[in-house]
Symmetry: C2
Subunit: 226 residues, 2 copies
Amino acid sequence: MSADPALRREIPDATVARLPEYLRTLSRLAEDGVPSVSSEELAAAVGVRSAQLRKDLSHLGSYGVRGVGYDVETLALEISRALGLTEDWPVAIVGMGNLGHALASYSGFVTKGFRIVALFDDDPALVGERVVDIAIRPLAELDDKHAVDPISIGVIATPAQAAQAVCDRLVGAGISSILNFAPAVLSVPAGVDVRRVDLSTELQILAFHAQRKALAAGHLGTAVVS
Amino acid sequence: MSADPALRREIPDATVARLPEYLRTLSRLAEDGVPSVSSEELAAAVGVRSAQLRKDLSHLGSYGVRGVGYDVETLALEISRALGLTEDWPVAIVGMGNLGHALASYSGFVTKGFRIVALFDDDPALVGERVVDIAIRPLAELDDKHAVDPISIGVIATPAQAAQAVCDRLVGAGISSILNFAPAVLSVPAGVDVRRVDLSTELQILAFHAQRKALAAGHLGTAVVS
DNA sequence: TCAACTTTGTGCATGGCTTCACAAACGTCT
DNA sequence: AGACGTTTGTGAAGCCATGCACAAAGTTGA
Ligand SMILES: NC(=O)c1ccc[n+]([C@@H]2O[C@H](COP(=O)([O-])OP(=O)(O)OC[C@H]3O[C@@H](n4cnc5c(N)ncnc54)[C@H](O)[C@@H]3O)[C@@H](O)[C@H]2O)c1
Ligand SMILES: NC(=O)c1ccc[n+]([C@@H]2O[C@H](COP(=O)([O-])OP(=O)(O)OC[C@H]3O[C@@H](n4cnc5c(N)ncnc54)[C@H](O)[C@@H]3O)[C@@H](O)[C@H]2O)c1
């Protein structure tokens, strides 16, 4: 039986990483009432080459019309499906300090299939506080199957030293997708996905390039490499 | 004249992206009093292959000792130098909402050469408020050269719709390294580096893989495609 | 209906990154 | 001093991603 190519075929990681950007731009175009775009236009808006955009989209199936371009709504829907955003993804945040609070109250979170269903923190001073109508609970309640709704994605926003222990708990509760904001490398069993967002790393990469630019300017005078 | 290989040679982007992680792990080892590590040990701690670690480090120069390994302190220093962390990087944050506040009060920021020197927000209700001893100012003051210290790195934490205008202002003020938390693609002139941190993108990538796992388990039973 | 024009989808070449595998280099022990 | 075990640094190979270029496919207009 023929199923959705998006679900059967292998989509390269590099492509998957760009799909959210395509989707965001398409959503904006849809809001503006734009009915269709060419690969050239969409690529320019996203900041990639048109050939790359077409190759990326070809992994999802063949949704363009030659001589015309892509229907904005259709393409947005197909990317949403490929990413799994047509389903509902219940999210839990562990660690309700500065960052946890910002994440919990971030509205952009909810827009696309993601729904915060639980907030955890072990600090007694925080337990019971309500953020966006959800009460903060001690992490121990995660183990009590009757106390929490199903959770698909766990977000770790605790200090680094607590991250591995929190991660183990999440994995123990059957969560196999984790977004980690703590500067720590997490060990997880096979089958569990961890992605890390690290502010310091990003700053350090910027610093590296800034240093290069400064050295190039200083050593080479005005001329910079082509 | 012979200069530091780290500064003269071309270091691949993929390597640069991993150096901060190596550095963080080395710093932890140094704190624990570990004098030296082999590439095998360090790679295991970071979660990469030892061959990759060695190749990455080879781009900085030859700081290992065959039969022994790497001196932790020396290697940490060399990575710091390669990344430019021996210099001081003054940072400004624009947009002091939920995220901006979290970033400004984040202590891990300061640890490695980064120093927050200015906070901007156009909301009159926020202007004047002090966060970690720095007063929030209107963004217009960025143009007044006498009002602000030099800034190397600009962090954008405003809503997406304001991001491009804020970015233009930062670039206009001579800032050529920008960290963007808003879900928007920024246009900048050549020579300006922009890195984006996007929570939604990360969640969507996790959702994609979670969907794959669910489909593999549901549709194919136990057997998964080779 | 048919020709001219536009844009997609993709085979192929190119370049960069990762992994393997091993010689060279170093310390240690006898 | 010399043999032995360990670990680095790196050529070579394989792999993946990117970019080019064009045939195929569709639209538009006469
Ligand atoms: N604040 C930022 O801008 C920022 C930026 C990048 C990364 N981070 C990282 O995000 C993490 C959180 O940062 P923050 O500024 O919110 O820190 P924070 O100290 O304000 O908050 C951490 C919270 O985690 C809770 N916690 C600690 N151990 C716990 C456990 N075992 N179980 C449940 N809760 C636990 C604490 O009670 C606290 O409320 C840190 O790892 C930090 O390095 C923060
Ligand atoms: N809060 C989060 O957890 C989170 C996570 C990921 C991404 N983001 C993104 O980060 C950005 C900020 O998020 P937030 O939750 O802090 O939003 P927020 O609304 O709480 O804060 C935005 C701040 O920017 C200021 N601002 C708006 N326009 C400005 C301008 N032109 N010049 C200077 N200041 C201006 C506003 O006054 C406000 O204080 C948004 O783009 C959001 O999508 C937030």
